[in-house]
Subunit: 358 residues, 2 copies
Amino acid sequence: MQHVTQRRKRVTQAEVARLAGVSQAMVSLVLNDSDGVRVAPETRKRVEEALRQTGYTVDIMGRRLRGKSNRILGVFTYEAVFPSGTADFYGPFLGGIEEESEAQGFDLLLFTSPGRRQGRRKVYEKGSNRLGIADGCILLGRHTDRDELDRLVDERFPFVFIGRRESSAGPVSYVGGDYAAATAALHERLWSLGHRRVALVGYREESESTADRRDGYLRACRRHRKTPLALTDVDPSAVFERLRADRVTAALVETTEMAVALHALAMNSGLRVPEDLSIGVLGDTDPTQTSSWPLRATPEIDWTTFRIPRREMGSRAVRILVGMLRGDIEPGRRSQVLLPCELVDGSTVAEAPRTTAR
Amino acid sequence: MQHVTQRRKRVTQAEVARLAGVSQAMVSLVLNDSDGVRVAPETRKRVEEALRQTGYTVDIMGRRLRGKSNRILGVFTYEAVFPSGTADFYGPFLGGIEEESEAQGFDLLLFTSPGRRQGRRKVYEKGSNRLGIADGCILLGRHTDRDELDRLVDERFPFVFIGRRESSAGPVSYVGGDYAAATAALHERLWSLGHRRVALVGYREESESTADRRDGYLRACRRHRKTPLALTDVDPSAVFERLRADRVTAALVETTEMAVALHALAMNSGLRVPEDLSIGVLGDTDPTQTSSWPLRATPEIDWTTFRIPRREMGSRAVRILVGMLRGDIEPGRRSQVLLPCELVDGSTVAEAPRTTAR
DNA sequence: CTGAAAGCGCTTACAG
DNA sequence: CTGAAAGCGCTTACAG
């Protein structure tokens, strides 16, 4: 039973030096024997012995203050990373981030201290940027604070966003999924199956990822000289009515939730999926996320969709960030990467019904 | 397009001071306005303006060196925290850790940099304790490196283990599940259902959690003056034969895997669970973990078991660690907490068959 | 109310 | 080969 009540005291190089009868600088030299030969063998031995006796460990703060780099990558998320449910939006992204950080020899700093304002975490607190603790930072989250993003760009703080982001303050480095291309490809697939009335159902609010999907859809419409029909998700049954009225044979919907709703409405009206209506989902649901959905009771549907390479996005973002820190990537230059999303053939897309007018 | 090629240079208090026309110390005072009144309003305003202009952020290394805490909690795990599968051993623990860190205003530093030696992460690298970057550290993992643990205790580094741990170097702070009590309670439940031959099936290797379960089992046996029958998991069919030979009516098994194996063997021999054989599992499987098991094809079984309060263990560990850092908990004293594990009544335990000799 | 100074633990030129 | 010194960015007594 220890009765020592004083706070744990760090052993310093100075103490080691005193024990070994050398100068503090000598201890540092022995510790960082990059050149190896500069220290006399007996001196080295004495120092090493003292090192052992005291159980000295470097104070990384001191070393880093001197050396600048912390080899710490920040990870900023707008919500909790480890949620209480099984649902985990961040999991796959962070898997890639962790893996690559480990490979690059960086520690990961999760910013949990800022607390939440209006239920969301903040980068800036009392005018100071918490992220500065880390050498650089990966940011991710479904929601983005525009002001904070602009400010981050302004500051020239090294960071990489996961998911395409735009800022009026300048170019933003990001690693996103190429939703435009993937949406266009899915549209193309429908076209080749004979569908001539393909609608888009997506979010109303304008985020980059929603815009990209719409761009892909519009691009495909233009190519086939078809008038686009882009609907908003606010009222599922209104959307469904509209699809019927316009004799739409296939719908590209932004999320699995919307797809589930549409699917249910179709079933209730006696329409079969995919025989009467094909449904393509614009991005797979993170498998770990599914279980928390209110709609989980719905029998599992094998959606036709495209795969968002979440893990790859994470690791790629780390590689870019480390490149920025090393100076390989010019700090003024921002890296913008869109990763391809592979098509997933499910059972919700089939040939267009022949009865439908073309 | 920016053509600036110089590396991002940190803004220091000195620069802010120059801009504001005050001393560097003044900037620090404005930043840490604990008393509030000491700085003249106009001076404060000038400094704050300069702060904003320069986008200054505190350099945590400098602050820490000065003696102030960084409000960073380390999290050390022996394996990757975000695995590639859906399986996630750490998830629930980390959920609690994150939540409580957020509440306490600490950031979380995940140690991913040490790389792996023999496939496992290491606390000590080149003789120095990597955890020292953080103010204190939470450690967790199914496997523990005994030498590292001993050394950590020796160093008096502030840390809390999740899961009971013992060290010859001295007392270890931990938050574990009270497996002994829970096992005894489960045994008691079986006894009250008429079971008189209850066997234990557990890991061969001696970890604290295995030992605790065995202790609980032995305690219950002693109380009822029954000879214990503790078997090892190495060969499932040998274990099963032994159970039959000894006319065991109920088995307490350490893991769900073992339970699944035993269950299958029972079915194959024409034994019904629980009518002919009751099976109690000594700790619920983390739900997020299940999906990666090779045995997942097995129809879901509603096991009788006890719930390991993983999330609570995480948050409690953080609270203890923060207490240590604040000095509320004497550093010499170690905190050792075992959280109760609630019994879960499933469908794998029933009354003892009457045909069996008592 | 403000400035000048000391010092946290370390690395790295710079003299001897 | 070794010691003394400077300085990384910061906070905090200590004088004015």
